[in-house]
């Protein structure tokens, strides 16, 4: 195990399951033997606000917060939110980008504009960007609410952790009746 600390920043919109995803990720990291810290702000998560979760792991983690410009992976659940947190990414870091667009209130009521061409801007700033069509894959898996599991599948391909651990933790965290579609979603994301 390296003594170096890795930083993953999750960014999304309340209701997308960002917090459950960071829960699964942190649990997998602990099972893999790392020291892990996870920090996020609840509260507004159910009310359509912007949501971030900081996950840090290594042999010994002190600060639960990722320093500006030091995230190794920016794990983005929505276009605008991923773009918003791009300054958190370190030089040479990677982005995992879900191509979904969710309108913030000022745009929905017509008083502001959703920025155009975000995916291209992110790819230009960070060549190591992996784009995933999470919604489409979730629909293939049989439930549009499994976007977060699709994305975890895609993330799992970027981290050197046993697949078995992911499957065990998902089975533990997801209610049984939703498990088959979540396992399908994870596989689709991992192979995407």
């Amino acid at each position: 195990m390296t003594s170096e600390i890795k930083n993953i920043l999750l960014a999304g919109v309340g209701g997308q399951g960002t917090l459950l995803a960071s829960e699964v990720l942190s649990e997998v990291l602990m099972q893999a033997g790392y020291d892990v810290k996870k920090s996020e702000i609840h509260g507004m998560s159910q009310r359509g606000g912007s949501v971030t979760s900081h996950v840090r792991f290594g042999s010994k983690v002190h600060s639960p917060l990722i320093h500006e410009g030091q995230a190794d992976i920016l794990f983005g659940f929505e276009l605008l939110e991923t773009y918003r947190y791009l300054p958190m990414l370190r030089k040479g870091g990677q982005v995992l980008l879900n191509e979904q667009q969710i309108l913030p209130a000022p745009v929905a009521i017509g008083t502001d504009q959703y920025p155009q061409g975000i995916a291209a801007k992110i790819c230009a700033a960070c060549p190591a960007t992996r784009v995933v069509d999470g919604l489409n894959l979730a629909l293939q898996a049989g439930n549009q609410r499994t976007v977060n599991t699709v994305l975890l599948g895609a993330l799992s391909g970027m981290l050197d952790l046993e697949e078995k651990l992911w499957l065990e933790v998902i089975a533990h965290k997801v209610p049984e009746r939703f498990l088959p579609e979540n396992l399908a979603a994870f596989a689709l994301g991992r192979n995407s």
Binding site: G14, M30, D35, K37, A108
Partner: protein, 587 residues
């Protein structure tokens, strides 16, 4: 030994369980709420929501009088409400250990101020622990109960949002056994705090703090971590984690207890460091006490007084200029403010209040989001319960034509928290305002906790739902009406009539919280826009409903309803004059 990834709040509940706590009481408040939500899962703990923090603490004190260990939890501003019993409890002490957990919210992620609760420990003369991760949250909670009984004192444990909501690894321990069974014991000299008794107790309190200070100097939770340089840092809580990360070479005196401070330990440590920093979030609480000892330190002249301390802010403070981010946005991005949910029962009320030009003395809850555009219908918000009493004061001084515009608004949980006292005052002193209670049968803002209107307790036991209408009547309000906030016609008519009425009246807007399907009605089918009929008038957008989106990419701009978000509340349908919104009755 079992390891588990836990939030600070889960770990505090675990620590309470391990310490043999019998009673846990609290009023919800971010970031403290999950402490009780986890405590209730331990069958050995009787965990309950009180209507406010003062009551919660008094319930805990009662359990302690009986010889049981009691945990009481609240957010920082809750301690303001509970301060009265807290200060006298400090004189009384405890029989069963009593720990008051208070969760601060630097940066005000979900709060109206960022007061630093460490000041309460000094003010009330009680010891205070401050954990720096979840493992310490568990261990300090457990230890706090032993300390409470050993030193005959309530003990405070302070967290912040990062500790309470952050997760890290916890080593679970076996619970204690062999605690004495609760029983009645009379001890009036200690438990009846009238002047003669209190005068005898006060010197004991001062002596207790002196003994605690001595004791704390020898405990492993106040420890020196040797570094290699000449720089020393004194810190505690989350600030310790940031200091450790940014100054790996520094000598660190890490304090697990922030009051009373281990003065001798600090003197010895300071003597060994050429440059000494005190790194703390918010107030110069530790810094001022160290300066008062005659020791020179660097602190708040470089470290921010306001907001959260983050690794970035601390680095800027220590090293001078800010590090440039590798990426800077060339454009301004639209914000993503929180919003009331689609189908929220508060939306129609605020739409109507705005339309009628009401001056809304508001309060704290999900409905505070009525402040945001496009509803923009809240004019004041101070603290829980103030919505009604602010209206009383305001109508005392306004000219008659302006008096009628004043409407005091609050939710059911806020009304039962302290709003009821405000209403009693209004009735008693002949106030003439209009009061609205937004009764969604739940404490929604903090994550839908049960309250006395819900018909259920925290542990899922049924209890009689309080009858708010009868309650208002019995206080002496003559005009009390219940309306359905989904019915805009009725809401407008009743509000208009009651605002015009020269006497006091109460309107109860009743609809269960959209997210609480347990007690709520069956889901209703979503709506859709009939594109040919939409005249692009934007009337429906005035609701600020997250399910309605303004589309500008077609032949004409028009509203679109996102069927996966729409709850079918039909407010927009009532606003549309062109029959351009209809119910999807496909299936």
């Amino acid at each position: 030994m079992q390891r588990s990834l836990m939030s600070g709040n889960e770990a505090i509940a675990r620590g309470a369980f391990e310490a043999g706590v019998r009673v846990a009481s609290a009023y919800p408040g971010t970031p403290s709420t999950e402490i009780l939500e986890n405590a209730v899962n331990y069958p050995s703990i009787d965990a309950s929501w009180s209507p406010n923090e003062k009551v919660a603490l008094e319930v805990g004190i009662g359990a302690s009088f009986g010889g049981a260990r009691a945990l009481v939890a609240m957010k920082h501003v809750g301690v303001n409400v509970a301060a009265d019993p807290l200060f006298t409890l400090s004189y009384i002490g405890v029989r069963g250990g009593l720990v008051l957990v208070c969760a601060d919210d630097p940066e005000m992620h979900s709060s109206q101020n960022e007061q630093d609760s460490r000041n309460y420990a000094k003010f009330a003369k009680v010891p205070m622990f401050e954990p720096s991760d979840s493992e310490e949250a568990r261990a300090f909670t457990r230890l706090a109960f032993e300390l409470s009984e050993e030193f005959d004192t309530p003990v405070m444990l302070r967290t912040n949002t990062r500790i309470s909501h952050g997760k890290s690894i916890v080593n679970l321990q076996e619970p204690v056994s062999g605690l004495p069974e609760p029983s009645l014991v009379r001890d009036p000299a200690k438990m009846v705090m009238l002047p003669a008794n209190a005068r005898r107790r006060h010197p004991l309190v001062e002596e207790r703090i002196r003994r605690l200070e001595e004791w704390a100097g020898e405990q492993p939770f106040n420890r020196v971590e040797e570094g290699t340089g000449e720089v020393g840092v004194i810190c505690s809580g989350i600030a310790y984690q940031y200091a450790r990360q940014l100054l790996p070479e520094a000598h660190i005196l890490k304090l697990g207890m922030v009051y009373p401070l281990p003065k001798q330990l600090i003197r010895d440590f300071a003597g060994r460091c050429k440059t000494l920093y005190v790194i703390e979030e918010l107030d110069p609480f530790i810094e001022e006490q160290i300066r008062a000892m005659g020791i020179e330190v660097k602190g708040k002249e470089i470290i921010p007084l306001c907001g959260e301390l983050t690794p970035g802010r601390l680095e800027t403070a220590l090293k001078g200029d800010e590090q440039a981010a590798p990426f800077i946005h060339p454009e301004e991005l639209p914000g993503r403010p929180p919003n009331m949910c689609a189908g929220c029962s508060h939306r129609g009320v605020f739409y109507t209040l705005k339309k009628l030009g009401a001056f809304v003395t508001g309060d704290i809850g999900c409905y505070t989001l009525g402040f945001l555009p496009p509803l923009s219908a809240m004019d004041t918000c101070v603290c829980m319960g103030a919505g009604i009493s602010n209206a009383t004061g305001l109508t005392k001084v306004l000219p008659p034509e302006e008096k009628q515009k004043v409407v005091g608004v609050m939710g059911d949980s806020t009304f039962l928290h302290t709003g009821i006292n405000s209403l009693i005052d209004m009735v008693y002193n002949g106030g003439c305002g209009t009061v609205m209670i937004l009764d969604n049968r739940i404490t929604a803002m903090t994550g839908r906790q049960e309250n006395p209107t819900s018909g259920q307790t925290l542990s899922g036991i049924e209890s009689p739902p309080i009858d708010l209408q009868a309650l208002c009547r019995v206080i002496g309000v003559e005009h009390v009406q219940i309306i359905d906030p989904y019915d805009l016609g009725q809401t407008t008519a009743v509000l208009k009539q009651e605002m015009a009425r020269p006497e006091l009246s109460v309107i109860i807007a009743r609809r269960p919280c959209m997210l609480d399907r347990r007690k709520g009605p069956e889901p209703t089918p979503p709506l859709r826009v009939v594109e040919e009929n939409c005249s692009s008038c934007k009337a429906c957008l005035k609701l600020g409903c997250p399910a309605i989106e303004w589309q500008q990419d077609g032949a004409k701009p028009l509203a679109r309803i996102n069927s996966s978000q729409c709850s079918g509340c039909q407010l927009c349908l009532q606003l549309c004059k062109f029959e351009a919104i209809e119910v999807c009755d496909d299936e």
